[in-house]
C-alpha cells in the first residue's frame, strides 16, 4: 500500500464547508454593508447554520468516512459534536444583534469570527492526527481571542481579550511541544499509529514529558485547575453572547477531542495520564466550587461553575470506557444548553456600563420577569444536577461511568462537590424569588437613576434562546433515551 493523500469523501466536509463559506461571505457582506447591518448579517448567518445543520443530518455518517488522506475521519461522534456546535452557534446568533445594539458595538467581523471559530469546533472531533488537532484548536481559539476583546469601549473586555490571547498562546505552545516530543519518541503523529508504537517506544522519559506537555495544553483549553486562572476574567469581560459561545462550544469540542486523543491514541500510557487527571479533577472540582461560593457577579459565577463542570467531565475522561463516551457527550450537551441560556439572560439584563449582572440586581426578579426567572431557575437546577433536568441525567451517566471504571473515591468527592455547589446556584434562585428589591438609600435624582437602573424587560431574542434551552433541558431530563440511544450508537 502507499501513502494516500486521497481527497476522500468530500461530502462529509459539506457542513463544515458551508460554515467556512458563510464566514467568508460574512466578511464580504460586512464590507459591503459597511458595518451597519447587524440583523441582516445575523439572519444570513442563521440561514447558513440551518443549511449546515440539515447537511449534517442528511450526510450523517453511519459508517466512518475518511477525508483528506485520513487526517479527518467523520463518524457519529464527530457528527453529534458538530450538531451541538451548530445549535450553540444558532442560539448565539439569535442573541447577538440585540446585544450588539445595546452595547453600541459596530462591525460585522463579529459574525465572521463566530463562524470561523465554529468551523474549528466542528472539525476538531473528526481530526485523527495531532497536528490537525492542534491546527483546529488554533482555528477555534484565534477568533475567540478577538471576540473576547470585542467590546472595545469596556476596559474589562480589552483585558479579557489580551489575557485570553496570551494564555491561549502559551497553551498552544505547550501542546505543540508535547506533540513534538510524542512524535520524536513514537515516530508518528497519527492517533492510531501512536497507540500502536507506544509499547515499543524507546525513550520513556521524553515520551512522558511529551504526554505531560500535551495534557497541560489541553488542561489550559478546558479550564482545568491549576490552569484555570484565565477563565473568570475572560468570561466576565467578554460580551455575554461570546461568553455563552465560548463556555459551551469550546468545552464541547475540546473535551470531545481530548477524549478521543486519550482513548484512541494514548491508552497504553493509561496509568500515567489517569493519575495526572485524577489529581487535576480533584483540584479542579474543589477549587472551582470554593471560589464560586462568594461570587456576586453572575458571569463570574458561571465562569467558576464552568471550571467545576470541567472537573466533573474529567471523571468521564479518566473512566475512558464505552459508557464514558456517551456520558461525556450527554453531559456536554446538557451543560451547553444551561450555559447558553443563562448567558442569554445575562445579556438581557446586563447594563451597558459593565456587561454583567450582579446577584443584587436579580433581587425580586420573579415579580418583574416571571418567565425569565423561571428559565434561570431551570438553568441553575440543571447545573446543580437536580432531577427532571438534563444535568441530572448527565451527572448520573458520568458518575456511573466512573463507578464502572472503579473510581469510587473520586466519585464520592464529585458528589460532595455537587452538594457544595448547590449553595451558590440556589443563591441566585433565592435572590430572584425570596429577596425583596433593594430600596435606593439616597433620595432625589441619584436615587431615581439608581432605581431606574436598566434591568429592563427581557427582549424577544433573549427570551427565545432561554425558552429553547429550557425546553431542551426539560425534554432531555424527562426523556433522555432518545438522545442516549443515538449517542451510544455513535460511540467509538
Amino acid at each position: 500500500m502507499g501513502v494516500s493523500f486521497a481527497v476522500g469523501n468530500v461530502l462529509s466536509l459539506l457542513p463544515v464547508g458551508v460554515i467556512v463559506l458563510a464566514a467568508l461571505l460574512l466578511v464580504l457582506l460586512d464590507v459591503l454593508w459597511a458595518g451597519r447591518a447587524n440583523w441582516r448579517l445575523a439572519a444570513f448567518g442563521g440561514v447558513a447554520v440551518v443549511v449546515a445543520g440539515i447537511a449534517q443530518l442528511v450526510y450523517f455518517p453511519r459508517l466512518p468516512s475518511q477525508v483528506l488522506g485520513g487526517a479527518l475521519r467523520f463518524d457519529g461522534f464527530a457528527a453529534i459534536v458538530a450538531l451541538t456546535v451548530l445549535a450553540v452557534l444558532l442560539l448565539t446568533l439569535i442573541v447577538s444583534p440585540a446585544h450588539m445594539a445595546r452595547m453600541g458595538l459596530r462591525g460585522g467581523e463579529y459574525y465572521a469570527l463566530l463562524f470561523l471559530s465554529a468551523s474549528g469546533m466542528m472539525l476538531l472531533p473528526a481530526a485523527r492526527e495531532l497536528v490537525s488537532i492542534i491546527i483546529c484548536i488554533e482555528l477555534l481559539s484565534l477568533p475567540l481571542y478577538v471576540l473576547a476583546g470585542y467590546n472595545r469601549s469596556l476596559a474589562f473586555s480589552r483585558e479579557a481579550g489580551f489575557k485570553y490571547f496570551l494564555l491561549g498562546a502559551f497553551a498552544s505552545a505547550f501542546m505543540i511541544y508535547g506533540a513534538a516530543f510524542i512524535w520524536g519518541t513514537t515516530g508518528t503523529l497519527w492517533l492510531g499509529g501512536i497507540a500502536e508504537s507506544l509499547p515499543s517506544a524507546e525513550n520513556r522519559a521524553l515520551l512522558l514529558l511529551g504526554l505531560g506537555l500535551l495534557l497541560v495544553g489541553f488542561a489550559f483549553k478546558t479550564a482545568l485547575a491549576p490552569f484555570h486562572a484565565w477563565v473568570p476574567d475572560v468570561y466576565e469581560g467578554s460580551p455575554s453572547p461570546v461568553t455563552g459561545f465560548m463556555a459551551a462550544g469550546v468545552k464541547v469540542a475540546v473535551f470531545a477531542v481530548f477524549l478521543r486523543v486519550l482513548m484512541e491514541g494514548l491508552m497504553p500510557l493509561a496509568e500515567f495520564w489517569r493519575l495526572g487527571m485524577y489529581v487535576l479533577a480533584i483540584i479542579t472540582m474543589c477549587l472551582g466550587n470554593l471560589l464560586a461560593l462568594h461570587q456576586m457577579s453572575l458571569k463570574r459565577l458561571l465562569a467558576y461553575s464552568s471550571i467545576t463542570h470541567a472537573g466533573y467531565l474529567v471523571l468521564g475522561l479518566i473512566a475512558a470506557n464505552a459508557e464514558a463516551v456517551s456520558a461525556v457527550l450527554f453531559y456536554l450537551i446538557a451543560y451547553s444548553a444551561a450555559v447558553v441560556g443563562s448567558l442569554a439572560l445575562v445579556a438581557a439584563w446586563a447594563t451597558r456600563r459593565t456587561d454583567d449582572v450582579y446577584i443584587s440586581d436579580l433581587r425580586g426578579m420573579a415579580e418583574r420577569q416571571p418567565l425569565a426567572a423561571l428559565a434561570l431557575t431551570f438553568f441553575m437546577l440543571s447545573l446543580i444536577g437536580f432531577p427532571i433536568t438534563a444535568g441530572f441525567i448527565g451527572k448520573v451517566l458520568l458518575f456511573y461511568a466512573a463507578y464502572k471504571a472503579g473510581y469510587i473515591a473520586l466519585l464520592i468527592i464529585a458528589i460532595i462537590n455537587t452538594m457544595v455547589s448547590v449553595y451558590y446556584y440556589l443563591r441566585v434562585v433565592q435572590a430572584m424569588y425570596f429577596l425583596p428589591r433593594e430600596q435606593p438609600e439616597e433620595e432625589g435624582a441619584e436615587g431615581a437613576v439608581k432605581a431606574a437602573a436598566p434591568v429592563s424587560a427581557v427582549a424577544w431574542p433573549y427570551l427565545t434562546v432561554a425558552l429553547i434551552s429550557v425546553i431542551t433541558i426539560i425534554v432531555l431530563g424527562l426523556v433522555p433515551r432518545s438522545l442516549l440511544a443515538w449517542l451510544s450508537m455513535c460511540s467509538f
Partner: protein
Amino acid sequence: MPSGIGVTCFAGFKLGVTRGPQATALLHLGMEKVLDPVYTYMDYNWVALFIVGAFVLVVICLALAAVLRPHRPDFAKLTTYECGEQTIGSSWIRFNTRYYVIALMFLVFDVDVVFIFPWAVAFRMLTFGDTSLYFQPIGPAALWEMIAFLGILLVAWLYAYKRGALEWV
C-alpha cells in the same frame, strides 16, 4: 516555524502510514538526515565556535573603543542627538498605525507564500505521482486545494482593501 510544522506534518504523514518502526523504508524521500542515528554531537562544534566568535568580536570592538576614546563629558555632548536639531518634547510620540497595518498585511501574505513554496515543489508529484515512490497521486484536486487556499486569502485581501488598510495617504 510554519515550515517546520509543514516538514513535521510531511514527516508525520510519511512515517504514520507505515506506522512508526518501519519508517526507514521511506528514507529515499530525503529524510536521511533526520532519521540517521550516526550523527554525533561533534558536528555542533562549529556552531559553538561561531557563537563564541560572535561574543568575542563584539566584546573586543566595544572594549577597544571604550579604552581608546577620550572621556570628557560636557552638557551639550550628553544631550540626545537628533540630526543637529533641538529636541522638543518627549521621545514617546504617537506613530501612525498604518505602519503596523502594512506590516500585518505583509506578514499574512508572506506566510501565504511560505505555504505555496512546498506545494509548488511537490506539485508534479501530487498531480501525476511518481513511480519510484509509494504514493498515489490526487490529480486535479492538487490545483483546486491551492485555489481554495488562495480564495480564502483573496477574501482577506478584499476585506483589507475595502476597509482602507491599503491606503497610505
